[in-house]
Structures are given as structure tokens and as C-alpha cells.
Symmetry: C2
């Protein structure tokens, strides 16, 4: 029986309740939307007593289905002021699900200071002292906890940034070997965890097995069909070879690659930061370097990498598109080593690297350091770690830093930094940034993949496209599946319904799943409406409406009013 | 004929349009609400191209009516994100009105950097170079401009904080002699002026006269009746003797005096900061010290003062209740000299002293300096002036500073610092802070004066009281009258209608004026609704709901839902 586990960090009370009624149908992002709506005041202080931090595996978590272990983490966001779900790979989600936990909810804030650990295993949930972890970086924290609790645990931790309640802080996790540092990065959820006084959640699933499902044979067979379709996808080879960095060159070619604080869409040093160059460097340097590794056990896509330094020692794992775009071209940095240095610092300090790429671009635009200055940028990240006054500005994200520094070109929507797709050259993403309940978050509906079929510079078709993408992203976020696992569903939309029906015995169909996704989007929007951060009040930053973006010379020209029409578009139910 | 003057700081175009149609009925805060609603996108960037900064005298500006020269300044606020009107005494408003200007509107932002002056006289409006004023303090700027343009000018200027686009910056003005520094302090309007690249507006009304009105004899007679009633008020003596500081002791007694970052409502060093002590010190020290001075020509109330140092030299003018409460007890500072030091620094740097009192209280709560540390606090204000990283945190106001410093007790509503009345011990003000379109602003409806008739600790009657106070404040803000001139209207509600009818020939009555005030409140609320900062999403800070305030031990307990009922209360039309 799946459980909802509530941990009150003030009273110390821990309750486990079996999922019941409607709850049985809630997974991942959907469950977060429902809990926030039912239990959290939309006008509460995100770092105060009344916010809740929710960890929820998706529908397929804890099973043999490949990539199904993504963990959704959510709360009212201190960055956007609205609902936030950020999901992450690694092994924590799968372990939580195998323990029968549909959601772990941290409630209230502690009366006394002093970091703690929440320890979860088959015997139950308890607090442990965490003061020895205070101020430790993320990988130090992993190391200490793996020494303390063994190597088979799943981990969810915050770095110094989260401890200091900095709103650019994320929640970190790792893979089975403790090599990767993966983030539920967006929306400042690390600061919410910090506000709860929890440095780490340790998940020990020893003695558990994958759930075989309601109809084990059918489930196993369907899961295999899913894997086979995924493995047959023509995209998989590129993903293994280059990871997400495979799109760097294309983004540059499309003129949407954030460059020097979003003042251009292509970068003159592009050749030194592409996915091909990344793969080449990893192969050349050897040592601990790897391409095509998995971030979670059982993933057959394996889009991660380990980027080594010149001596072959691991420098950062994994180096990905968003971080190359934001910490690289957006900062005028044309060196993968330089980008890896900054990315590793973000990972260790506990910061969202997308948000920080925006922040560093803004410091350069303000003239604090020149574009391209890796050492200067690294120094700023260390100031965040040290909590200096400047660090306290920068650790709060790009909107905050831009305001403090008096910069007028602030690349953010609704308080959250824009990821690696300039909406002037990929207008579908502008629609997603403004209308999605998640704010400027490409994972909520990324039009990059459709740039070949829908003119990314034109207004036409962007609403329909974003609408479809937002619904598809939601379906994956409810399932616990990776966005990269969408291929089999595109080929065979009924497959997910088959999996759910085989696992839970549900009477379900693809159109029903679409309806659930639409319902969840509406639930999130209703929360945001009541929090005062309705998409009706959101907009791309003003400079994107008035400064044409080279090389295409386009501005963002969909008005808020025009974008509102997205909510009248009937969802597509015949194809994924 | 009254004019609306538009100054486009980008194109350089200046247009003067006679007021026409409905506009003829708009004064002060009302005109600001209408212009913002009709011309400014509620979702625009407050410091960007599409915000407008509006200077609007009230209905009675430019006449002989005493205290009628208050100037309303307004824009979409960078602090609250909503409509903001902040009004101020001094001589600038009267001079603008005497020049026939119903509103001066600064539009757009300049393409090139370089401060400018807007110069207004009988011959028209023009730009002048202002680069020589860059970085100058407020009184330095006054001095330079009076040397440059003569002593009979009215002035509206920003300090270094406004130039740096710091959102705690206000707009300063002065009296005829250039002694007082008065502020349209709240809402960050100084940063909006900074974003327009305008350091100062110089208003020369040489050759103009007061408007005698549509029916000069009746107008003169009614204005005299107004003055006589005001002079007959029993409150006037206290106001002249002690100024607004006259309420310090009472605020302490009522347990609502902000003390040590709003952790208590009364202060053990109260005796050294009361209005009586202030008057005593001024009298003892002599020299340039004065009690009972006027901030604007022709005011018969004369509640201002000049606070001298031990040698009799002017230290700050005027030292007022809000600043004593926020920079004094709220910072644990029990010395008028210490308070005056901080107040003078705020005035010179161009900062809202209420907002800064909140900020300094938060720095002390964060442990950066101890409560009571005048030197430390002064050092922080100088850091703002210098634009250091810490200064850039503190100059953005209390919400921003609190977030950057990781403080959980942040005394603000909707991004704006709470003034000198803790809502836990004066619940009517909590209603005003949350429901008023102006946010945490006592001038929008201050229940202090009614604490004797409505139990300030109980829920009962607070909505009705705040509703009435908000309407009355609006009427005064439309008229250009000082809040302290309300006495005659209480005694004779028809008096204002008589004045307006005699000045403009309007067919008007007190109930009609109430209807106009209600309409303006609704206009402001509609703007805020469309900006995403509806009062439905506002709340007192969470700590005020959970931390009982000594000495009464009360928390703020009106829910947002309860407060929303205020909009169903029928306005009182039979008495002021």
C-alpha cells in the first residue's frame, strides 16, 4: 500500500497515511499540485511555517520501467511566488517509491536552529542530527552520509546556499555510485528545504523490491515494449554520444543561444563549446571521463557524462546543454573547462546553474567583471558560498541580483531566470515561459524540438505548439518518466495507459491521461491565481520586446492578451 | 486654463494639453490613478520604458487655501508592483499649480546616460544639463540649484539612491527657505525618477499669482472660514509645540510603537524620544533650532521643526514621529541625536526614512550590528550612498534586505515596509496595510486617532473604521490638503464642496466627493488587480500572526478573507 508521509519539523510528529480515494491517482507533479492547493495558503511566506516541501515519485516510480524513477519536488516557490515542481533523476526517487512512499511532505519550520537529517527506511522515518553537515558542500555531504549510512542509500541534500535560505538554491541528489550531482534546480526549492532546517534526506531501500504491478506479466511485457521502442529510437545514439550538449550547435545556428546576457543569439566561440567538442575532449582526456553514463539505475538512454580535467580527474558530472548555454555563451565564456569550473562550483554550493548563469551574465552586463572572465565569475560563486554581502545578492537569483545592481536587462519571467532558449528566436518557448504555471522553465514545454516544423521566429502556431508541449511535459512529470523517454509514447500513445492499467488495474486511456494533465495544469493555474502570480500578469522582460536579437533581429511580439488565447485551445487527445 | 504637461525623456518631446472633459475633475491622487489606468500597462517594468512618473497638485493647489499645496507624486511602484501615490508638502506643489499645471508626466526612459534637469516656468518647459549634479546629496543639490536658478524656485530632486535606481529611494522637496527636506518618500518613486534620468525638476513660478477662483469673493470667504475652523481646533497647539512627534508617548502607551524590529510594542527608553523631550531639547539648544515651523508657505498648522545639534546647528528638519519610531525604537536607539543623525543621512542620500528604519532593524535582527548601534547604522547608510554590495542590498528596502540577509522577521506588506504602528496592537492599521491599494502606508488610512473609540486590540469595528479612514484620506489626497487639515471638514463636511464650487463653479456636494473618492479607490484597486498585486493576495507578515507582541501579547488575527469584507461596506456620506 502506498503511503503519504508527513514530517512536521517543528513538532517532530511523523505520520504515515495510506493513499485513499482520489489520491490513488496522483503521481509526481500532479500530487504536488493537489497537496499545495488543498493544504497551503497561496499567500503564505514561501520560507515560513505554512509552506510545505513535497517529494513525490511519479506513477511509474518503484518499477522496472526504464527512466521511471524521476522524483518531483515541489512547494510554493520563493522565486516565482507560485506553484513549483522541479524533477530530478538520480536514485532517490526510485528508492522512495520502492519504500512505498507516494509523497514525503516536510511541514512547518523548526523553532530552534540546528540542521537535521530525515532518515527513511523500511522500518520508518526518523530525525537524525545534522549539525555536523553544516556549511558542507554537496559532494562533501554525499561523502559523509555515505560513510555514515552506507553506499546503497539515496540522497537529497542542500548545499550552503540552501542553508542560507538563498532563493537560487536547488535540491541535489546523486546516482548509485555517488558520482553525478543532479539537481531539482529550479524555483528555489533548496531554500525551502533550508527553511525547514533539513540538510539531507537519507533513503535506504534495503530489503525492498520493485513493484511487480497489478498484472505482473502484462506489466513486465509492456515495460519491455517501452524499452524496446526507446532503444529503437534514432535519437538515442546522439544522446549517448553528446548528451544534452548535442543541441548546442543547433541552438547557435537557430540564433537562440543566450549570449552575453541575452544580448545575442549566437556565439563566435561556438566551436569550442559544442557537444561534439565535449565528447572529443572526454575521449581525448580519458581517466575518469565518461560519455553515455546513466543518472539513474536502469536508464537505457544514458545521456549523462563525466567531464574530466586535463589530468583525467572528474571535474563535473554531468556537463549539460543548459549549463553550457547559461554559464558559457551567456557569460561570453568559450571554454568547456571554464564552464565546468563554474558548473562544479554551482553544484557544490547548492545552486541552480541556470539561475546562476543568468546572475553571472547580469554581473558582467553591470560591468563588475568583463564577459568571459572565468576567474571573476568563480570568485563571485565563492562569495555566495561565504555569504558575503555581494554573495547574498547573487545567491538570490537573477531578478534580485539585477535589481540590486541596477541592471535593466534582466533575463527572467516571474522572478525566475530564463533557461537556454531566447524567446525572441524561439517564440514557442516565450509562450511557455509566460503561460506555464512554472514560469521561465523549458522543461514545462520546450519548443526546441519543433523548431523544424514551426517557424520559431513567427507568431503563427506557437500557442498550439506550446499548449501541446505543456500537456505532454505534464504527462511525463506525472508519470515520473524522463522527458527523453517520450519517444515510445509518440509512437504509441496508448502505451502509458497500458502501463498504468497493468500496474494499478486502472481503467484508463490516453485521452483520460490527457484530461488528467489538463486538470493538473488548471489546478496549478488556480493556485497561482490565488497567489497573485497568474500568467495574466506575467511577461517576457521588457528588453526582449524592444531590443532586436542578433542575428535574426527579431523581438518578442506576442502580447500577453494574445498568449491568453492558449487556454481556449482544445487539448489534442489523439496523439502524444 | 489648467494643463497636462508630458515630458518624454527619450524623444525629448514636450507637450502641453489643456485638461478636458472628465480630466477637469481629477486632482492629485485621483489624477494619478486615472492616468496610470488609462496609459500604463499594469504588468510593465516599473523602472522601464512604459512606466510614467506623475506629479499632480490637488484640486485646491495654487490657491490661498491653507495647506492646499501638497503635491501628489505617483507611478507603478517598484516596491509594491502596484499603483503608488505619495504626497508631500514643501513649496513645489503650490508653484506647479500656480503655473497652471494639473499634472507633469515624465514618460519613457532615456537612451543615453547622463542626468538632466527639467525646468518649468511661465515660458514653458525645457531640459537642462544635470550631469554636474551626479552623486550629489539632496541638500547639495538644493544649494547648487538655488545658486543656479535663484532662491524663489520650487524643487523636486533625487539623491544618490534614486540615481542608482534603489527602490527605497524617495523624491525630495524643500520649503521656501531651503531649510526643510521633505519627502514623497514611500513606494520607491525616487528610483522611478532615476530611471527617467531626471535628477531634479526646477519650478519657477515668478510672475504667477494664486488662482482667485470662479467666484472669487465666495472662494476667499470660504477659504477664510476653513482657516478659522482650523485655527480654532484644540489639536493645533500640540501640533505646533511637538509636531507629529507628539504621539510618540501615546504610541508607546498603546503598545504599538515598533521596537527592535517589531519584536515589542513599547520601548524602555521611551522618555528620551518623546515629543516633549524633542521640544525641550530644541528650546534648550536654541541656535538654528525651531519648533512650530511650516513646511509650505501659508500653512497655519506649522507642525515642522528644525532639530539642532548640541551647538545649535541644524541637524535635521523636520524630525517626525515615523522616523523616531522606525529609526529610533525600532532600532533600539533611545537618543534623539542618534535618530537625527540617521534621519539626516536618509534625507541626504535620498532614502525613505520609514523604509530604512525597517531595513536597519532587520540588519540588527540579523546580528550584523547590535540594536542601538547608531554608528553602525550610520555606516550602513553610507554604504548605500557609496553603492557597495551591502549598500545595494539595503537600499532596496526591507523586503529585499530581509531576503538577502536570510531574516525571517520582515516587517512589510506587499513589498513595502510597515510604518510606525504595529498592526498587532492597532488592528485597524493592519486592515489598511493589507487592503489599501497603497500597501503598508499609514497615510492611506491611519487608525491611530481612533484608538480611543475603537478597541485597537479587538477585531470588532476595524473594517468599518479603516474603510472610512481610507475614504477620508483619499478625499484629502485628491484635494491637495494636508491630513492635518481634516479638522474643519469633520466639523463641516460641506466645506470642501463649497470650496470646489467657489473655485471651479462645480455643482458638487459632500456625498458626490465621497463617491469620487470611492471611485478612485476602485480605480486603484483595478490597476492593482491587473498588476497581480490585488489585496486578495496581500497579508501582514507571517510573524505577526504567530509571535505575540509585548506588552499586550496579541497577534494579528484578521484573516484575509475577513478583511475582504471591507469592500462590501457602504461608504459613510453624512460625515467626514
Amino acid at each position: 500500500m502506498m503511503q503519504i508521509v508527513r514530517v512536521n519539523v517543528r513538532s517532530g510528529k511523523i505520520t504515515e497515511t495510506p493513499v485513499a480515494g482520489e489520491q490513488a491517482y496522483y503521481g509526481g507533479r500532479q500530487l504536488i499540485a493537489k497537496v499545495l492547493t488543498q493544504e497551503v495558503s497561496p499567500i503564505c511566506d514561501p520560507l515560513g511555517r505554512y509552506n510545505k516541501l513535497i517529494f513525490a515519485p511519479g506513477w511509474l516510480g518503484g518499477t522496472v520501467v526504464t527512466t521511471s524513477g524521476r522524483l518531483s519536488i515541489g512547494a510554493k516557490s520563493p522565486l516565482t511566488g507560485g506553484v513549483k515542481e522541479s524533477n530530478v533523476g538520480g536514485d532517490a526517487g526510485q528508492k522512495l517509491a520502492r519504500l512505498g512512499i507516494r509523497a514525503l511532505i516536510l511541514e512547518d519550520v523548526p523553532e530552534e536552529v540546528g540542521l537535521r537529517i530525515v532518515h527513511v527506511d523500511r522500518r520508518g522515518i526518523r530525525f537524525a542530527k545534522g549539525t555536523h553537515l553544516s556549511g558542507h558542500t554537496v559532494s562533501e555531504t554525499f561523502t559523509i552520509l555515505r560513510e555514515q549510512y552506507g553506499n546503497s542509500i539515496g540522497l537529497l541534500v542542500i548545499g550552503p546556499a540552501g542553508e542560507m535560505l538563498m532563493t537560487a538554491a536547488g535540491v541535489a541528489t546523486t546516482d548509485r555510485e555517488g558520482i553525478q550531482i543532479r539537481y531539482a534546480a529550479r524555483g528555489g526549492l533548496g531554500s525551502v528545504m533550508g527553511s525547514k532546517g533539513i540538510k539531507a534526506i537519507v533513503i535506504d531501500d534495503a530489503g525492498t523490491t520493485n513493484d511487480a504491478g497489478h498484472d505482473p506479466d502484462r506489466f513486465k511485457e509492456t515495460a519491455k515494449r517501452f524499452t524496446d521502442l526507446l532503444l529503437a529510437s534514432p535519437k538515442i545514439e546522439g544522446r549517448r554520444k553528446y548528451g544534452t550538449a548535442g543541441i548546442v550547435a543547433k541552438a547557435n545556428e537557430l540564433g537562440l543561444l543566450p549570449t552575453r546576457n541575452f544580448s545575442a543569439g549566437s556565439f563566435e566561440e561556438i566551436d569550442s563549446i559544442t557537444g561534439a567538442r565535449l565528447a572529443e575532449l572526454i575521449a581525448e582526456r580519458g581517466g575518469e571521463g565518461r560519455s553515455g553514463t546513466a543518472c539513474m539505475s536502469g536508464c537505457v538512454i544514458r545521456c549523462s557524462n563525466v567531464f574530466p580535467d586535463a589530468d583525467g580527474k572528474r571535474k563535473v558530472a554531468s556537463l549539460q546543454y543548459e549549463n553550457i548555454a547559461l554559464l558559457g555563451s551567456n557569460c561570453g565564456i568559450g571554454s568547456l573547462d571554464g564552464i565546468a569550473t563554474l558548473n562544479a562550483l554551482c553544484n557544490e554550493i547548492g545552486l541552480d546553474a541556470i539561475e546562476m548563469g543568468g546572475v553571472l551574465g547580469v554581473t558582467m552586463d553591470a560591468g563588475l567583471i568583463p564577459f568571459g572572465d572565468v576567474e571573476g565569475a568563480a570568485g563571485f560563486l565563492r562569495e555566495i558560498q561565504d555569504g558575503t554581502p555581494l554573495g547574498r545578492i547573487l545567491g538570490q537569483g537573477v531578478t534580485f541580483a539585477g535589481q540590486a545592481l541596477g541592471v535593466r536587462r534582466i533575463p527572467a519571467v516571474n522572478g525566475q531566470g530564463i533557461p537556454g532558449y531566447d524567446p525572441r528566436a524561439l517564440k514557442g518557448n516565450g509562450v511557455t515561459y509566460v503561460t506555464s504555471p512554472m514560469g521561465a522553465d523549458h522543461t514545462a514545454g520546450n519548443a526546441f524540438g519543433t523548431a523544424g516544423t514551426i517557424d520559431p521566429l513567427a507568431k503563427k502556431g506557437q500557442l498550439e505548439n506550446s499548449r501541446g508541449l505543456q500537456i505532454r511535459a505534464m504527462i511525463l512529470d506525472m508519470s515520473g518518466l524522463c522527458l527523453f523517454a517520450r519517444g515510445p509514447l509518440v509512437e504509441s500513445p496508448g502505451l502509458l495507459a497500458d502501463l498504468l492499467s497493468a500496474r494499478f488495474g486502472w481503467d484508463i486511456s490516453f485521452p483520460k491521461i490527457v484530461a488528467m494533465a489538463v486538470d493538473t495544469l488548471e489546478t496549478e493555474r488556480a493556485f497561482n491565481d490565488r497567489a497573485g502570480v497568474s500568467d495574466r500578469f506575467a511577461d517576457v522582460p521588457e528588453f526582449m520586446r524592444v531590443e532586436p536579437l542578433p542575428p535574426h533581429g527579431t523581438v518578442y511580439d506576442l502580447t500577453n492578451e494574445e498568449m491568453q488565447a492558449i487556454w481556449k485551445i482544445e487539448p489534442e487527445t489523439s496523439r502524444f
